[in-house]
Symmetry: C2
Subunit: 605 residues, 2 copies
């Protein structure tokens, strides 16, 4: 090693020791014939004192920020009054006796300083400089620790880490596949996996019993919001378990992970059914860091003269102190609702004397007005927002309103962590709803799976899920942290007959099911164990732990919008020769396929 | 959990305990109104005794092999004389009081029995049954342990586990890239990485200092021999190190890994220079489990009348006891040489009385004949094989002969492990040689890199490597185990000027270098640290540890020949809609590229 010590590890107890450090010049100040350098390496920063003569004799007179150097010198206490309490090494400095410039640095596109805002495209283009800043570097270092804790937790419970293929078969699971031409089978293509779902289920059939993988997954989605074309999930599957086993494992895992940032997560997490989460929070990923629960008013307004409230569902959420918002703010709330596809956001203000205001109030009956404040639990000075209509849409609007009320009211305490489970989600949803949300339906049917096609109905719906798909609930569970879905899983179907009936509900013909998923159905013929699992959004978990707002902050080389990497400039055009050789334009050779399918038989030894 | 105990964990100390087991029926024997089941789970096998009445009342009368069941019963010592010393659970049995069939099994395509040979295509098609066999399953479980030990070794030394992208830019590194069309940038393609080489170097520039990743890599090669289109390497990179640091780390890592199979690997490993390895063993990955070193006879035959030996190099390898091989065996040796591209394999036999035989002997001078036995160290009854010609080709033939002699003579002791380093390989080799070996040259020049284009010349060749490319040696090191290259690495170039000169030797124009590797060259402008690393062939290491002959045995779902997966039938034709949507047929939109390249600028906060 070109160093004896990490710069950031030096303490006053090292005084008198001769050390060799290696790292980067984070800062240079010249004063009285001496250069004071902040020398930065992976362990931290130390102050190095270099006499001008040494700089000159080392050919380092023009030493600038981000030059890479080694320095040898003696650790000494800083002179009286010069200690820096903000720095772990603030009591010492290193008096250089030799200095070597390992490499020089051109003028930087931006300073290596967390306090400087740099445009994202520039940060990514010079990601190797961005990561020298303490914040971005620390996020990746934390991620490595998260991996370690997760793996140790699982390995200590006899899990087996297994790698599944990434050159695999296209099996739509709700998003587009990335495709890879197969040169050796012209006309055929691999797909990059959206998740290892089918392989982990096959591993359960194989008797591996406890599988995990920190797995790269791929979805060719439009890069709205914070999506990356490749992302990582911690993927877990177990045999001979029920929902409680996966839940207990998850809680232990997340407890151990959050301990890394000094947070003691109480377990067990509260469990809400999907229906309860929607009724109380208007969300299937409720943020429990604050109250403001939805109040259902459907029966309260059963006889209402107000036509808008003559609906399948009426609910409300109270904004504490919201009664005094100016008119233009209420207009902004209307806009807020419209952006979410609603006609507006009805509201009533409660004056300090308890009288109701706002455009809706006068449409209510007198008894409705009288009882309202008590019915919704409002106080003088509050505002009550309403949504009415189809239950799930109205609740979703109230859920979004609830979050926005909390945000504007700064009701969320920094550093608070609230976990919960959402269980018993519907097994199916109408396919048009999924497609509207940007997903690709697996089959051509009127219904598609809410979780995925391999999720088991709860046993009490085994007989009826295909005759009444809208009523069946799934053996599915999502784990939610501060309003973020950080993991989701299910008990899987392990019976061929049930799997075939689920495919049928989703509109897959027998032949389609056989073509796309025949190998899974076949596997279920050979003593499949009951099994279930969960997948964690690893990027999102690391993002939350790092206190970041974007998963890009916890990915070493993320893509920017449109899937472009400003650093390597990927993707890029390919040559005609590459195109030809890869067989991009070949037609499938069906005969070749069939030959390779034929099993080669067995022989006893 | 649907069980209280693992079947394989039960011991006589558990007698009297009521247990619930879950697993598969590995065997059923019926005897006297009772069925004896071998119940198998991930922990092992236990014998379960089930009365016929219980089978009947459980609806399990037709219980067959590989049915998946749970059983509850009491652990009891086996009756006197019925213990099975071959089984860890052989002293007990479980007397079932209840039994549930969790799922049934159709007749199996092959028995779940390691002793039965099954064709590979069938094994892979039913991989979920193949992995129920103890050998295949154990190989994957061992691999998981290998991962754990490697990660712990590295994390304990402050390495950071970092994920690099797999949707990246095509940068030829000796093989074809797999390509992925970029739907959002029509006409542009991603490439799957052949290794994380460039990213790990950028991470060093970013100051991460110690990186590792168990990384999936991709090479679109013809599937000769034991190649897989996707494979795994343990990828390591460090800053501020020299070759000895990487060597010491590797030796610790491999020691810790081999300890998993109870092998104590002595360190340090012997180091051979490339030249020495070729001279003594005729191989750059010498198998040191046996001697049979090559003997150079170039000066011995300096004056020879035998025209074949009037060559740049003459060498020999002795086959102990080989003098008595029948004529047809010597013919087979000729064939052996011809298959390797040589004209034949000259040999001389040494009779028990010391006289020389074989067709070559009579061509030698009398003094050559007299001194030969002593010169090569042969004994009466031995055979001496010769190769003459260009040094490297002749040595390669002798190296192959040496291995074959050891194989035929059973000179390799089972369970012996011999590690070594091969260092100081040439920096460049003639490009035509690389292309003949199936590699793709990076540039159009007469020379290509032996290790890769980012490997540093040894400092003593900094000034001359481009004027005399054939003489420069590289700061490269390969670690070899029992004749297998299991890892290779190098100290990297971190100076832009040297990197540019290396590219030039390889025939890249300045513009080509800039287009393909500009981002790396740019990074070297900003204080790059000296760095180096190594990559381990993870599949091969796990294969060796498992005592297997093919890397397919340590991959959960390997591809068969031609990159085909007999289980999922990947790759498969895609639909016209998929093709259209993926933008496979689009022309590159060069303007779009340029726009995205433009940095977005910075602003101070």
């Amino acid at each position: 090693m070109m160093r004896t010590h990490g710069a950031g590890t030096l303490r006053s107890s090292d005084a008198g020791t001769t050390v060799t450090l290696a790292g980067w010049v984070a800062r240079r100040r010249d004063h009285g014939g001496v250069a004071f350098l902040d020398l930065r390496d992976a362990s931290g920063i130390a102050q190095v004192v270099v006499r001008d003569e040494l700089l000159d004799s080392s050919g380092a007179h023009d030493l600038r920020n981000e030059y890479c150097v080694t320095v040898t010198g003696e650790v000494a206490p800083r002179p009286e009054g010069n200690a820096n309490a903000d720095l772990p090494t603030g009591e010492i400095e290193v008096t250089a006796t030799s200095l070597d410039v390992l490499s020089t640095a051109a003028p930087l596109p931006f300073p290596i300083d967390d306090r400087v805002n740099v445009g994202e495209e520039t940060r990514l283009r010079y990601r190797y400089l961005d990561l020298r800043r303490s914040g971005p570097g620390a996020a990746l270092r934390l991620r490595s620790k998260v991996n370690r804790v997760a793996r140790e937790t699982l390995l200590d419970r006899d899990f087996v880490e297994l790698e599944t293929p990434t050159l695999t078969r296209s099996t739509p699971e709700g998003a587009r596949d990335f495709l890879v031409p197969a040169r050796l089978r012209p006309g055929s293509w691999y797909a990059l996996p959206q998740s290892p779902q089918l392989f982990k289920q096959l591993l359960m059939v194989s008797g591996m019993e406890r599988y995990f993988q920190i797995a790269r997954c791929y979805r060719d989605e439009d890069f709205r919001a914070d999506r990356q074309p490749e992302f990582t999930q911690l993927d877990v599957e177990m045999s001979f378990v029920d929902q409680d086993d996966i839940i207990e494992l998850t809680e232990t895992l997340l407890r151990n992970i959050w301990a890394l940032i000094g947070v003691d997560v109480p377990t067990p997490f509260p469990r809400l059914t999907y229906a309860e989460a929607m009724d109380r929070y208007g969300s299937d990923k409720p943020d429990l860091r604050f109250g403001l629960e939805l109040v259902e008013l459907t029966s309260y307004f059963a006889e209402t003269p107000f036509r808008v409230f003559q609906a399948d569902y009426v609910g409300a959420v109270v904004m504490p102190g919201g009664g005094s918002q100016p008119r233009r703010t209420f207009d902004a709330w209307q806009e807020f609702a419209k952006q979410r596809g609603h006609r507006g956001l009805a509201y009533v203000t409660v004056a300090e004397d308890g009288t109701l205001g706002g455009p809706v109030a006068k449409n209510l009956s007198e008894s409705e007005r009288e009882g309202l404040v008590a019915a919704v639990g409002a106080k003088p000075g509050d505002c009550v927002f309403f949504a009415a209509g189809a239950r799930s849409q109205a609740q979703a609007l109230l859920g979004a309103t609830r979050l926005e009320v909390a945000r504007r009211g700064e009701l969320i305490v920094e550093g608070d962590w609230k976990f919960c489970w959402v269980v018993d989600a519907p097994l199916f949803e109408p396919a048009d709803k999924a497609v509207a949300a940007g997903d690709v339906a697996v089959g051509a049917g009127a219904w598609t799976a809410v979780h995925h096609a391999f999720t088991s109905p709860k046993p009490e719906f085994y007989d009826t899920f295909d005759t009444d798909p809208g009523s069946a609930t799934a053996y599915a569970y999502d784990v939610v942290c501060n309003g973020n879905e950080i993991g989701g899983g299910s008990i899987r179907i392990h019976r061929r007959d049930i799997q075939e009936r689920v495919f049928a509900v989703m509109g897959l013909t027998e032949e389609e099911a056989r073509t796309k998923f025949g190998f899974l159905l076949d596997a279920f013929d050979f003593g499949p164990p009951p099994h279930g699992g969960i997948a964690f959004g690893w990027d999102r978990i690391c993002m939350l732990l790092s206190g970041e707002e974007s998963i890009r902050e916890v990915i070493a080389f993320p893509k920017s919008g449109g899937g472009f990497d400003p650093l390597t400039e990927a993707p890029a055009p390919i040559t005609a020769a590459q195109r030809k050789e890869a067989g991009v334009d070949a037609k499938p050779d069906v005969k070749g396929e069939k030959q390779a399918e034929k099993p080669a038989g067995q022989s006893a030894s």
